[in-house]
């Protein structure tokens, strides 16, 4: 079966150890996490967004194994084509001269990024969007020199009124 990227969204109990339970299950069952982002959400729960690469039977087994964990309240897969998918990156770019400075600011504007920190030798830019867009922006910055880079991993919601319901 063809390997592709899947987005899995899970509502979990927001308490210590739950992330470990989930990531440990991935390791034990030989699944590979591409990216994972976690943050608090409604009703004392946290939302995990996990991307993995695999075929359909792999993702089906993975979702079932996740659903089995008592602290996972609800888990489902999101269709990448029908979801709002975002990632945030902070990129510290080396600024050797003033031309570079204005170029970088211009590029940041084109990518709807924001300059969030300035120093004589560097600019730090915040950019959000799909992973592809962020990759493209980072590639563009390489010619100036990327000093440091931090990415959140993707987070996502289904388009339209559809939500992950808790029973």
């Amino acid at each position: 079966m063809a390997s592709q990227t899947w987005i899995i969204a899970a509502l979990v109990e927001h308490k210590p150890g739950v992330l470990y339970k989930v990531s440990n299950m991935f390791r034990r069952r030989n699944f590979n996490i591409e990216s994972i982002s976690v943050g608090a959400t409604e009703q004392g729960m946290a939302r995990m967004t996990i991307t993995i690469t695999g075929d359909e039977s792999t993702v089906e087994q993975l979702v079932k194994q996740m659903a089995k964990l008592v602290d996972i309240v609800k888990v489902s897969t999101l269709q990448p084509g029908n979801s709002v998918v975002r990632e945030l990156a902070l990129i510290k770019v080396h600024i050797p001269n003033t031309t570079a400075r204005s170029d970088v600011i211009q590029y940041a504007n084109i990518f709807r990024g924001r300059v969030v920190d300035v120093s004589p030798e560097s600019l730090t830019i915040e950019v959000t969007g799909t992973s592809d867009k962020i990759n493209a922006f980072i590639e563009l910055m390489r010619s100036f020199g990327v000093m440091e880079l931090a990415r959140t991993g993707i987070t996502a919601l289904a388009r339209g009124p559809k939500i992950i319901k808790v029973k």
Partner: protein, 561 residues
């Protein structure tokens, strides 16, 4: 309610769950609880090694259908439980384990006897939790028993920091708990049930494979009803042994690596497989890709994650075995009268006659298959048999016929040597009025033999039958068959003398050299009021046949001829 300490609350919560026996061993970090247990009516069975407390809890749970409880201290006490908990996890045995822990302020400081048992046991428990205040105890205990005993049953661990045991609070004991991420009751989809029934009725050569789920959900009557309606032969996994009486005309015995020849042959000929309450372990199926590849498969299991994990199902039914089989039987009877499977049953009978008509080998040595058959004829039908792991286990599986569910207790998934003896003690505590016999090998028995002390002092008499080949027999068998008889580290020698060993612990020891002595010894041992070890010397050259080599398909059964 008045103010109570965490320890008092715990013991009260255990009483509310109906716990009347705990297996374990105390230590510093759990002393406040043991101090409260001193005044309680709960029977505490002191083990000599913590691993055995979990195995005893398993034996208790398997024999009785109730949750088994074990309790140990922090650090090494807790880590010694790991093998037992893993064993329970692999075989879905409902146990609740309590561990002491260093005080909350010491956690993470590498204190004396601190171990991160929550981190360690996460992948081997259905659920685990560290208590953070005495107030949480009633809810977490209720939740632990609920989780352990419902859905796909399994082990739950509660870790109790020492100061939560002494902290005082006014407890609130919940009547029931609900966990928002846990919904154990799955009703089978009516349409799927109907489709399954239609498919089953169409099959000309149906075969049923029953697993441990049939036994844990007490679904044997429902299994029999479906099997008899379809006139379908029933094989079992090792964990399912006892789901159908093995003297029933439809019983084929155990399927798999050491399955009966008729079971392993008929699964290759069947056109339809109804698999109930099992996870398609590689020991049952052989090579996954080639298992039942010409069959349509209906798979009933309470755990949705088991469906399609190892073997794909044509019709999945996510529900517990009892409910699934009950609904299926109803659908079958609505659609058709009892089936007529004369041709298929003739084939079943033909193979059975062929394989069972072989003359017994005339040999003055004590032969394990014959010993197993003799043992069966000597024991009452409801006798509980446990096994160790290795050749002894497979001889028992193949040749000791089990007539009732919950009377055959073995370590399937983990294959834990040393399991059988403590499990036998736990089973005897649960069902004191029937004989309990551990079918053992010398290698396994030595691993937990120290529980003879527990068995004798606690007056829990069981019988240990040591098939003594002075070898790690199964490993030796593999080395004999697949490693050119290069016996690397398998020879145990004649040490110890099991008769003297038993006597040293205050138990009874016997050695038998003939079938007649064997019969006499077993008859005496089951009546004995003290644990009896029967040493049965057998040849180190004995193999368990039939056998399917690891990683091969059931087609490649070796019969030893």
């Amino acid at each position: 309610m008045n103010m109570m300490t965490g320890a008092q609350i715990l013991v009260e919560a255990l009483k509310k769950e109906g716990v009347d026996v705990i297996f374990g061993l105390p230590g510093g970090a759990i002393l406040p609880v043991f101090d409260v247990l001193y005044d309680s009516d709960i029977r505490f069975i002191l083990v000599r090694h913590e691993q055995c407390s979990a195995h005893m809890a398993e034996g208790y749970a398997k024999a009785s259908g109730r949750v088994g409880v074990c309790m140990v201290t922090s650090g090494p006490g807790a880590t010694n439980l790991v093998t037992g908990i893993t064993d329970a996890y692999m075989d879905s045995v409902p146990i609740v384990a309590f561990t002491g822990q260093v005080p909350r302020s010491m956690i993470g400081k590498d204190g004396f006897q601190e171990a991160d048992i929550i981190g360690i046991t996460m992948p081997i428990t259905k659920y685990n939790v560290q208590i953070r205040s005495a107030k949480e105890i009633p809810y977490e205990v209720k939740k632990a028993f609920f989780l352990a005993s419902t859905g796909r049953t399994g082990p739950v661990l509660i870790d109790l920091p020492k100061d939560t045991q002494t902290e005082t609070t006014v407890p609130e004991f919940p009547e029931k708990v609900s966990v928002r991420g846990y919904h154990p009751d799955h009703e089978p989809h009516p349409l799927q049930v109907k489709k399954a029934a239609q498919l089953l009725l169409k099959g000309e050569k149906p075969l049923i494979l029953a697993g441990g789920g049939v036994i844990s959900s007490n679904a044997s009557p429902e299994l029999m009803a479906v099997a008899e309606h379809l006139v379908a032969p029933v094989a079992t996994s090792l964990m399912g042994k006892g789901a159908i009486p093995e003297n029933h005309p439809l019983s084929l015995g155990v399927l798999g690596m050491h399955g009966t020849r008729e079971a392993n042959k008929l699964i290759l000929e069947a056109d339809l497989l109804l698999a109930v309450g099992l996870r398609f372990s590689d020991r049952t199926t052989g090579k996954f890709d080639e298992f039942a590849s010409d069959c349509k498969i209906i798979h009933i299991d309470i755990d949705a994650a088991e469906i399609g994990k190892n073997v794909p199902a044509d019709i999945p039914l996510v529900t517990d075995a009892k409910r699934g089989l009950k609904d299926l039987y109803k659908a079958l009877t609505e659609l058709s009268d009892k089936k007529d499977n004369t041709t298929w049953m003739k084939r079943v009978q033909e193979l059975r006659d062929l394989f069972r008509s072989e003359p017994e080998v005339k040999d003055s040595n004590l032969k394990p298959p014959k010993l197993m058959k003799e043992l069966r004829s000597l024991l009452p039908p409801d006798t509980i048999v446990t096994t160790e792991v290795g050749q002894n286990q497979m001889w028992a599986s193949l040749f000791f016929k089990v007539y009732k569910p919950r009377t055959f207790i073995t370590s399937g998934g983990l294959g834990t040597m040393g399991f059988g003896f403590p499990a036998a003690i736990g089973a005897k505590v649960a069902v004191p009025n029937v004989p309990v016999v551990d079918i053992a090998g010398d290698g396994s028995f030595i691993m937990t033999e120290q529980e003879l002390a527990c068995s004798v002092t606690e007056e829990i008499p069981v019988v240990v039958l040591v098939l003594n080949n002075r070898m790690l027999g199964m490993v030796a068998q593999w080395q004999r068959l697949f490693y050119q008889r290069r016996y690397s580290a398998v020879e145990l020698g004649d040490v110890p003398d099991f008769v003297k060993l038993a006597e040293a612990y205050g138990a009874q020891g016997m050695r038998v050299q003939s079938y007649e002595e064997f019969r006499k010894a077993v008859n005496e041992a089951v009546k004995s009021e003290v644990t009896t070890v029967i040493d049965v010397p057998i040849s180190p050259e004995e193999n368990v046949f039939p056998m399917v080599p690891a990683g091969k398909s059931l087609r490649e059964t070796i019969t030893g001829e």
